[in-house]
Assembly symmetry: C2
Homo-oligomer: 717 residues x 2
């Protein structure tokens, strides 16, 4: 069987797993009538939101697809469409599983913690496997069609395959930034608004059915944390694996192993689908009843099994693991380390074994980022405890300590990424870095499973509260949800970490493309060129501006929620008395409109910024400086964005769990002054960790991809 | 008269102004006995703190001086000592004026707003002129000694003058980072601690004499906002003007106008001393009684008069304004723009007129930054109003909106700096950027005057409260203080903005030095070199880590204050009853110890990071990559630090004034829920704007200077 066909079969396996497991989940008991009624309201709201969101995105998408078709040709437009549609599908399926699993998890938690965990985790695993499987299939099938059926060559002068893969990534990125941001604004506007008007003003508990915003809050978990996240990770997967293949096509077009090298990233993804599926069956509580421990077990099994699996597919694709790859060919610069006095690498080349080591490095980086994220957001360690303690002296010190922790939390991941860059580059140059990133993303099935489990348990808790279920159920869902805060932070740290590596790969693709399209232009990317500094500064500005817009949008939309709820309370005193039902749909509708209105402008920022910067600098200082500034912009976005995203996502998780830690009876427990301060910190952390922070990841990628497309369009025009 | 001698005379003029005006200020009425008693306590505390701080710094300073002497020779060690000592002197004098002017301002405010303004502003002007004058004298006299007396040449192979100027800047930077951070931790630990335990816990107003931390709070204004700020701006001046001279010596050593070019930065500084002195006399209230308007008048007069003054000294130094400078000489790369098809600049060179235009650009950037800062921190504009409005819905939304504004506030200054870089570079290459930065700093006398006025009025308000003066006095000092929040933010934006330009100059000095010391090494500063990316990422991490340490230090020290005050209240119930006096000195002493302990480790971070990064990367990937990573680190610090510093300083100012805006009767006024939320925002903003944010500026410079010294030491060793 052909190598790419194997990858396609493995991708289909993930889809099969998804279907089989969803039958199991949907077959579980759905609880009482009251529970199902609440779940139906959440489901209806989520579907209504996604429908409207995708309608809006579709308009933008069709316009962009036409532009792609005009500037880059019909095949690229098809690639764009596939990426865009499947990114949307990934989010849509994730949401649909999640809104059905929530009520079943609440019902299962009546039986026991293990039962609740199994159901919620399976729901997450379905989303995870479908994200990884669809992403793998999108690239593999499209690549198979282009090369095996349409007969385009990879190594030659024809750029069809490369351009089509970039367009595919662009489609995925464009949809995912809208989905991440729109969903992020929805979920946090509803959450913050519901908390402000419910907990703070009316003095009713979280998830109280008298609060008209309570259904919107639960809808938000599904459209933001689940659908938005799934679209984002789909994008990250497609861009990373796609970029690795593009860079291979650009740099190694003349090596004899080219065919195997093009298929290898797909095979690594396929192999890890199998290990991820096996891993899901190991997520079981041990004797200590540690939920995080159960998650770790699943992840560790996947990671360890992936080692032989990746070795096997690497050998399958390349044959002799010790045969040189990069160094066999003349006139090809595989981006080799500048080895002055014979380093440990083969001078001028690398072997299959080196690529295998780089893949292991990717697995190790993933593991380290999970571990660091747990340290910064888990309730057992210094950071969260220090925020909880600082809550004793008030709102101000809680926020100060939270901000300090959020900034500190950038250090270790940065050092891990830096070490990863250095080691991978020493082993196999830029291609090595690309393989590190690919192996990270190969684990996406498992990592997304850990994440998508979070909103299910969060919703289950809400349903338990609203349906007046036994307090012990809420206790169990709360325990499951606390771990969810950490796993949600893990995925974001993982996505942004892989973006750090992928951005280097995309930048390498940019410089290689530039040399290909404009061979006569001597572009100076040196830090000594002030236009490079200008590009770095403007690039680093983007995440700040983008983050600010996201935070403001949440504040504004949350304010609308507060007004709507106040209005409902004022017009019908029966709501607070519990004699009449609030109009949940009205609030959902309001947040829907607000979120969609607010997501447009920030999403266009990373699309337009590269184009504007290129043309303005070209006008002022000539085309070669325009390209230099644009290239620097791409790296400025990652240098600035890495820290903004890491600090926001870790800080938000830490604030949330500091509140949970106090609610567990520390520092005075629920209702104490420390608890009030911790609620403030949690509110601040909400848009940090679920709106602005995670949206930086697709923002970085989209900036890079737009630059690549701009190059191709300029060359064609 | 020799050009440098003229600059020295003008520098002395600033000192004379300082002495004459301080006699006027000290001659003003010092108020009632009670007022003088309080002022004496503040004065005593401030002197005790500075004494201990300088003793600690002296130990570090002597060790470093010995290292400088060993590695770079005795002349550099003398330069280091001059920079270090005068930086300390600038802070010391500023503090001494401030602690005497506070009580006199309170007394003058009894007569009228204009009287209070005049006294407080004069006190600020003394500090401003002494900072600018001493900084100018430090460089000019040292340079005069080296060239005219000791007879060292500038243009030749001998590096004595260049190394000595760098060592001078290092001395200033090292002291200023300790002073900025130590003072910043002191002032905010006392402020936050006093607020938490007084306003929040005990329910007594700000500046209530029953609060044992109240004197420490007032001491903090003087040692942080005044002494720390003065040391910081002294450093900024010395580094910027020094770097311009160093770059001139390195790049233009063979042009005929070298002597005039070396003196010109000093002459620009001298000319602006005169215009700044004139400007101070125009700070008077107009018909509208607008305090900010009075400040603007003074600044505008200075800026406008500076245009002909700078033209005059440029002509004096260079003679024919249209004679080419850079282009006259072969084999010299003055860092010219890559002009493909004849741009507006002389190909390969620039004229005196171009340098004059670059200086005007520096004046314009300063004006724009002041205007942008007022927009983001003034109570009349959207940003502060939006924070105030968001306070209505609680602590959480106040902080969210404040963070959003703080991030947004980075955009316009960044665009101004980027435009400045591009225009200056188009006019006269890297030297043009250096002149832009020099002209910015030439206005330091006036800008520091605007800033140093702030802590005086802040203290005056505290004294008015504690001495039970008429409520109308407090009203006037509050009006003066609100403007102080904006002018304090202005100086920080200005300092970090100039650092953005100066860092490019320092980086150019680094690359030129590198080529000089290691001519055989082919260092690749291109963004395509992964070690450059590694350097950028590690550099951008530094401000995050540094900021986190500063914020945590404030939180920790403030916690100690809270405990101490609680203890005093518990042991002596007479304090709250007003029958016995609290032990103010005990609290001052406690904060002193805490601040000094906390300042050491973060201050060493930027000193050690460049050294560690160079050696580690050299070990892994060879010396040329070590130098590449180190160079990239220098730019990473500015790319990361610019945004951290701008967002923190503007955000903090906006939070503070949002609180003041509510206290003026908006959104419910004092005591309302919105006010409580605004107090939380103000508390969060405190370490942002007065500890972590402003200390980023000397941090950036010190990283750059250590790299230059490392180069010299490696070359010598």
């Amino acid at each position: 069987m052909d190598l790419v066909t194997i990858a396609i079969v493995l991708g289909l396996l993930a889809v099969v797993y998804g279907f089989v497991t969803s039958r199991q989940v949907l077959g579980a008991a759905a609880g009482s009538e009251r529970m199902q009624e609440i779940a139906a309201a959440v489901q209806e709201g989520a579907q209504a939101y996604l429908k409207r969101q995708y309608t809006t995105i579709a308009i933008v998408g069709v316009i962009v697809a036409i532009l792609v078709a005009v500037f880059l040709g019909p095949i690229s437009a098809v690639g764009f469409a596939i990426g865009a549609i499947l990114s949307g599908v990934a989010g849509f399926i994730g949401m649909n599983i999640s809104v059905r699993a929530n009520v079943r998890t609440a019902a299962a938690a009546q039986t026991g913690l293990q039962e609740g965990l199994t159901l919620a985790f399976r729901a997450g695993a379905i989303t995870g496997m479908l994200v990884a499987g669809l992403a793998l299939l999108a690239i593999a099938v499209f690549y198979y069609y282009l090369t095996a059926i349409a007969g385009y060559e990879v190594g030659g002068e024809n750029r069809t395959v490369v351009d089509a893969l970039i367009a595919l990534a662009f489609g995925a990125s464009l949809i995912s930034i809208f989905a991440r941001l729109g969903g992020g604004i929805f979920t946090k506007a509803a959450d913050v608004g519901a908390d402000l008007v419910g907990k703070v003003e009316a003095g009713i508990p979280e998830d109280d059915p008298r609060n008209p915003a309570v259904i919107a809050d639960n809808v938000g978990d599904n459209v933001g944390d689940c659908a938005g996240m799934a679209a984002d990770l789909f994008e990250t997967y497609v861009v990373t694996v796609g970029a690795t293949m593009v860079l291979t096509a650009l740099l190694l077009s003349q090596v004899p192993q080219l065919e195997g090298l093009m298929a290898l990233p797909l095979l690594i993804g396929g192999a890890c689908v199998v290990t991820s599926i096996i891993g899901t069956y190991f997520v079981r509580l041990g004797a200590k009843q540690s939920i995080m421990g159960a998650m770790y077990k699943g992840f560790l099994v996947t990671a360890i099994l992936s080692i032989p699996a990746i070795y096997f597919v690497t050998q399958l694709a390349l044959g002799d693991m010790n045969a040189p790859i990069g160094g066999m060919v003349e006139n090809v610069d595989p981006g080799m380390p500048l080895s002055e006095e014979g380093t440990s690498t083969q001078v001028g080349g690398f072997t299959g074994m080196d690529l295998f080591y780089c893949s292991l490095l990717g697995l190790a980086i993933t593991g380290l980022i999970i571990w660091i994220t747990e340290y910064y957001t888990g309730t057992n360690f210094r950071p969260v405890k220090s925020i909880a303690k600082s809550s004793e002296t008030g709102h101000g010190t809680n926020v100060i300590q939270g901000l300090a922790i959020s900034m500190e939390a950038t250090a270790l991941p940065t050092l891990v990424i830096v070490a990863g860059i250095i080691i991978a580059y020493q082993l196999a140059g830029l291609i090595g870095i690309a393989y590190g990133a690919t192996a990270m993303l190969a684990l996406a099935g498992m990592v997304v499973a850990l994440d998508a489990y979070g909103p299910v348990t969060d919703n289950a808790g809400g349903i338990a509260e609203m349906a007046d279920m036994d307090a012990s159920v809420r206790e169990k869902t709360d325990a499951l949800d606390a771990v969810g805060n950490t796993t949600k932070a893990v995925t974001k740290g993982y996505a942004i970490g892989s973006a750090g590596l992928a951005a280097l790969v995309l930048f390498a693709a940019y410089t290689t493309d530039l040399a290909h399209f404009f061979p006569k232009l001597d572009v100076d990317f040196s830090l000594e060129n002030p236009y490079v500094i200008v590009g770095l500064l403007l690039g680093a500005l983007l995440p700040y501006l983008f983050g600010s817009m996201g935070m403001t949008a949440v504040g504004r939309a949350a304010g609308d929620v507060v007004k709507d709820v106040r209005d409902q309370f004022a017009k019908d005193p029966g709501i607070m008395a519990g004699t009449s039902k609030p109009d949940y749909a009205r609030t959902v509708d309001l947040v829907t409109k607000a979120a969609i209105k607010e997501m447009i402008i920030p999403s266009l920022l990373p699309v337009l910024a590269p184009i504007v910067v290129y043309f303005v600098i070209t006008l002022i200082a000539g085309q070669q400086n325009g390209f230099a500034a644009l290239g620097a912009l791409l790296l400025g976005v990652i240098v600035g964005g890495l820290f903004v995203a890491l600090s926001m996502t870790a800080g938000g998780g830490a604030w949330d769990n500091a509140k949970k830690y106090i609610e567990d009876g520390n520092h005075g427990g629920k209702g104490s002054d420390a608890h009030h301060a911790a609620v403030t910190g949690d509110t601040v952390g909400d848009p940090y960790k679920d709106t602005a922070g995670p949206a930086v990841n697709p923002m970085i990628k989209i900036t890079n991809i737009v630059a690549l497309l701009l190059l191709a369009a300029l060359a064609a025009g």
